[in-house]
């Protein structure tokens, strides 16, 4: 599995898919017009990684500021894919604005839906 990095733009997140270090990161905003098309190669990479190629330890970090409803679906699909996939040691962090008293709203939907993944909320 080859690593894949995507640069951040105004409406697309920075994406790090670092195979050697078992590091997966999404940071920035995600409200592209063609959201699903953007995430297609990422979903493909994740399917391969969690399809029997995961490192001994995998860290997945989400640090998304603004995102559209299509991204809400993509995030669900990513968690679903990980839950059904193969991995050894797994850590998933959901970063949120600690100054925002409602900052965990997005996190709660996924944490409730995928309790087995033990998604951790981390205040920034």
């Amino acid at each position: 599995v080859k690593s894949l990095n995507i640069e951040q733009s105004d409406n697309a997140p920075k994406v790090v898919l670092d195979f050697d270090n078992g590091l997966i990161e999404f940071a920035g905003s995600s409200f592209l017009e063609n959201t699903f098309e953007f995430y297609e190669p990422i979903i493909e990479w994740l399917s391969s990684y969690f399809g029997g190629n995961a490192q001994d330890k995998t860290s997945v970090n989400f640090d998304l500021k603004y995102y559209n409803s299509a991204t809400t679906q993509v995030l669900f699909d990513i968690f679903d894919l990980i839950q059904d996939g193969e991995y050894k040691e797994l850590e998933i962090n959901w970063y949120y604005d600690g100054d925002d008293e409602h900052g965990m709203e997005g996190y709660e939907d996924y944490a409730d839906e995928f309790p087995e993944l033990n998604i951790k909320a981390v205040a920034l």
Partner: protein, 180 residues
């Protein structure tokens, strides 16, 4: 209908910013960036900024994806005519986002039914619907997940408002409003 995005935050009826452009991916990025800047400068709370920003994105992308007569650009992107406006009511600290665009009569019926079905639901019920929809992937298409109205309803402090005006046979003008 002429193309027209208006971002005008009205504070005590004073317009502090107004943008008028054609709606496509670039103007959406530009418009929501101006909204964020304006709200940050006004000292709005993080949740308010996030809700207004994300509702604005949804409404603008809805114009792009569902407007009658939208144009196909390169790379499977679209451009559409519509009106988008943000107003602020200092009494209650509420922002109201309104959009106006043309839709087919069939689309109008679907939207009206969806908006009606959300009326009176509390936050817990809306969250449950969102999770069900994400699980079922029902209504997912190349541009969206069919979750837009639900996500807006979750962020809205009042019921979503929608009304239609006949333009000609098979085409209606839609007025959508969301308050956060």
């Amino acid at each position: 209908m002429s193309s027209d995005i208006k971002f005008c935050v009205l504070i005590d009826n004073k317009t502090i910013l107004e943008v008028s452009e054609r709606i496509n991916e670039e103007t959406i990025k530009d418009t929501v960036s101006k909204i964020e800047k304006s709200l940050l400068e006004s000292g709005a709370k993080p949740k308010k900024i996030k809700d207004v920003f994300e509702i604005s994105v949804e409404m603008l992308q809805n114009i792009l994806n569902y407007s009658y007569g939208s144009r196909e650009l390169e790379n499977q992107k679209k451009e559409a005519d519509g009106v988008f406006r943000v107003t602020y009511n200092s009494d209650g600290d509420l922002y109201t986002m309104t959009s106006t665009n043309l839709v087919s009569s069939e689309q109008a019926v679907v939207i009206q039914d969806k908006v009606e079905s959300l009326k009176g639901l509390d936050d817990k019920e809306i969250r449950k619907l969102i999770r069900e929809k994400m699980r079922s992937r029902e209504n997912k298409h190349s541009k969206g997940a069919g979750l837009g109205l639900l996500v807006m309803a979750k962020k809205s402090s009042e019921s979503i408002g929608v009304s239609f005006e006949n333009v000609m046979s098979g085409i209606k003008k839609m007025f959508l409003s969301v308050t956060a």
